[in-house]
Amino acid sequence: MKKNTFYLMCGCIALILLAIFWYSVEIHNPLFIEIAFLIGITIAYFARKRVTDLVEDERSAKINEQAVLRTFQVFWVVFCAFSIGAVMQILYIPQGPRVFFPQPPLALLSPRMMGYFQLALLCLMIFLYVGFRIYYARKYGDWETDEE
């Protein structure tokens, strides 16, 4: 399979997943999109293994490695800060009568809000990875031009 065919295929999978997501919201069945997402990723993974004109050498492996490492280093700090905040909310014990020190609003910790936070963190992880990937690709000469 050619590289461009693979990219087109990924685009098609993304569009189909978006349609399934919409349908899943319509029928209010999250399991539908969850299974579809897993199948979509599996198809993309096996399609990726069949790409023939995508040469991966030690430089591209190093770029990936560095980008993943830096993403992880930044992400765990953000994730830890978020988790500490969430744990603080759970462990909150009012000092004195509850009348004067009411419990913090639980809406912040509702499953729906946690889902949004997780989605935001996932987006952050993707942005961090793309940013670091561009940085290291530039550092190791990905966009260098030559007279040839």
Binding site: D57, S60, K139
Partner: protein
């Protein structure tokens, strides 16, 4: 780390693409090595030197 890949390529009348295909890397990697943006692993350095049938010290020079 300095290198003479460009010189050896010229001596063997090879393009970056030719060399890249011969040793199984991308053209960008050869370009990055030539420009000093990327220091190759020992394995890749040996493969490049062997391709030109010379010792590794003749292609790569350690810069103090």
């Amino acid at each position: 780390m300095k290198n003479k890949i460009k010189v050896f390529r010229a001596m063997h009348d090879m393009t970056q693409e030719d060399l890249a295909q011969a040793i199984g890397v991308t053209r960008q990697t050869i370009l990055a090595i030539e420009k000093g943006k990327y220091v190759p692993s020992l394995d890749l350095a040996f493969r490049i030197a062997r391709h030109f049938r010379v010792n590794i010290e003749e292609v790569f020079m350690y810069d103090d």
